[in-house]
């Protein structure tokens, strides 16, 4: 408790007492929002309203309002879905895998990363529901007895695996997040000086009192949940990748997809954590808790996963050539030099070249550089999914069906709107919930 390592930099700066930590973390919840918060919240809410309009128009009119056609039947919807699910991976990775590896630096960032996971998965799920076109039948993929001639769901289908993987991932992440929040809600409850705040946080904290037995169970539950979430987080993006890999579309039918998707998910997730936390630590003045050391550690994860993704891109290309399969070879040549070459080279630049800058310690420790590179990675990972989905579909086996795809304002609205939804949720979170785990 009172020992400090001489080898590693301290995780919290400024020699804080326990009470100082409580004060600092509770401050954003107990004080009024500043004008920057209101500005950000208004912009996010406005973007979210565009989402509401675009989704209502899609549901009311039909999927024909999107830019899809018979050849390209999946485009921005699934691109955005995979992008959001990928972003959601960092939260569970930070809270579960880093807990098992005893990486203590996770404690400053795990709460907000877990919140980010929850909101990102909500955004992802919104694309699944809206791309069905008829959201009122969204319960059809569930294994329920039904009136369609006792026809059950097909458990051989990767799309059904996805239903199970995403819903399990969402609810288990929610449990992990909420069970960790209970003692911290109790902190705010015990400090509350207004009637309503006391009442709300009493309900949220479930009547938590930190007795020895409660803490013992709490720690065991956290550890076991981490153990369960670790294979879960690896399985989710593996299953997402199998939506593609088990099909016979050139460019999709690849055995390296599961590990390649998981690495990409962690890569993009950490980039999004960086983008958000660099803003949060500034706006909420939490620089003593989310330190340059944390930023450096996360940048190392971005560097290693970015390099894995780079190797995966090159491996794909090599195997396409080495396989001798004409269709496969064409799919990759077409990606790099076809009509969507700009998407491919945006992806290559953002995902393979920019993270290599993190070999420099100076850049890893620069808040500004990290922020810029994290944006590049977010953009690059979006293009990765666009390249995989659209360039593989738009020219496959039958040249007479070859065509181009471009989105309409409705798809753009749903995408921008989902970013609005994400930030709206996150901004409410930083005002209502303790953003750093205190206990």
């Amino acid at each position: 408790m009172h020992k400090e390592s001489e080898l590693r930099p301290p995780l919290i700066l400024g020699d804080k007492t326990w009470h100082d930590i409580t004060e600092d973390v509770c401050r954003p919840v107990e004080s009024k929002a500043n004008k920057w918060w209101w500005l950000a919240f208004s912009v996010s809410l406005a973007a979210f309203l565009w989402w509401v309009i675009a989704v209502s128009y899609t549901v009311g009119t039909g999927l024909g309002v999107w830019g899809l056609n018979k050849t390209v039947g999946w485009a921005w919807d699934i691109t955005n879905f995979v992008w959001w699910v990928g972003i959601g991976h960092a939260g569970t990775l930070i809270s579960a895998i880093l807990l098992l590896f005893r990486q203590k630096w996770r404690l400053s960032i795990n709460r907000s990363a877990e919140a980010m996971t929850i909101f990102a998965v909500i955004c992802a799920a919104s694309f699944i529901v809206s791309h069905m076109g008829r959201p009122w039948v969204a319960y059809w993929p569930l294994p329920l007895p039904n009136q369609f001639g006792s026809l059950w769901v097909n458990f051989n289908s990767p799309l059904l695996w996805d239903v199970f993987a995403i819903s399990t991932y969402f609810t288990v992440s929610l449990l992990f997040w909420y069970s960790g929040l209970i003692p911290d809600f109790a902190v705010i409850r015990d400090r509350a000086n207004t009637k309503w705040r006391k009442r709300i946080y009493t309900i949220l904290s479930f009547g938590w009192v930190g007795t020895a037995k409660n803490w013992q169970r709490f720690e065991e539950v956290s550890l076991v949940l981490a153990g369960l979430s670790t294979p879960l987080v690896l399985s989710v993006h593996s299953v997402v990748s199998m939506d593609f890999a088990t099909s016979i579309v050139p460019g999709w039918h690849t055995t390296i997809f599961p590990p390649y998707f998981v690495a990409g998910a962690i890569f993009s997730g950490f980039a999004m954590v960086q983008t958000l936390l660099i803003i949060v630590r500034k706006v909420l003045t939490l620089e003593d808790y989310i330190t340059i050391y944390h930023i450096d550690m996360m940048n190392r994860v971005i560097l290693i996963t970015g390099s894995i993704v780079g190797v995966a891109y090159i491996t794909e290309f090599f195997i396409a050539w080495y396989s001798g399969v004409e269709y496969e070879q064409y799919a990759f040549i077409n990606r790099a030099t076809g009509p969507y070459w700009w998407a491919y080279w945006s992806m290559m630049t953002c995902n393979v070249i920019t993270p290599q800058l993190f070999w420099s310690k100076k850049l890893r420790e620069s808040v500004f550089a990290t922020f810029i590179i994290s944006i590049f990675v977010n953009v690059g990972m979006w293009f990765e999914r666009f390249v995989i989905i659209v360039t593989s579909l738009h020219r496959d086996y039958l040249p007479s069906s070859w065509t181009m795809y471009s989105p309409t304002w409705v798809e753009a609205g749903i995408f921008i709107g989902s970013i609005g939804l994400f930030f709206t949720c996150f901004l409410i979170f930083v005002r209502v919930f303790p953003v750093i785990a205190m206990s």
Partner: protein, 175 residues
């Protein structure tokens, strides 16, 4: 601390190490130290208090096995026994032949039930539910103070217990 007919004297401490050292010292003088309420888990407190290991991970394992079993029954019943389908040239002939395709769903169901079962067990066993009124002994017991609960048989012991708690390092005592 659950039974209402028991009486307690509470010592408020401001250092976890002092609490850990005080427990065996007070117990050797005949005080019944029953519990410690702390703002964060104290390492080694379970051993000092003599708490048994929690069996919640065993419950989790059993829930997981249940989830695994139910998923195997569900996939087998629905896709092999009740209504076998031949989709995309991938027929459902026999359970063992289709088992590889059922593994993702089985795995997810195992995790789903294990995690939910364990957390619900934890909440019920620790009596944590929305609407439960907490027993707040000290307003800073979730911030930076530690509360030690000592059980007493009747009020005549209070003065003695209070002075012992103070001697052991308590900054404050409460009935």
């Amino acid at each position: 601390m659950s039974a209402h007919n028991k009486k307690f004297v509470y010592g408020i401490f401001n250092d976890d190490q002092v609490v850990l050292n005080a427990i065996p010292a007070l117990r050797s003088k005949g005080l019944k130290v029953k519990d410690v309420i702390s703002p964060f888990p104290i390492h080694g407190l379970d051993d000092v208090l003599g708490l048994e290991r929690t069996r919640i991970s065993i419950a989790c394992f059993l829930f997981g096995m249940t989830g695994c079993g139910l998923a195997l029954l569900m996939t087998g019943y629905m896709n092999i026994f009740d209504w076998p389908m031949d989709i995309g040239g991938k027929p459902s002939f026999a359970f063992y032949k289709n088992l590889p395709a059922f593994i993702p769903v089985t795995f997810e169901s195992t995790v789903l039930l294990a995690a939910h079962g364990m957390v619900i067990t934890f909440l019920l066993r620790s009596k944590l539910l929305p609407g439960v009124e907490p027993n707040v002994i000290h307003p800073r017991m979730s911030d930076d103070q530690f509360v030690m609960a000592v059980q007493i048989n009747d009020d005549s012991e209070i003065a003695n217990v209070e002075s012992q708690l103070r001697a052991a390092g308590a900054i404050e005592t409460k009935k």
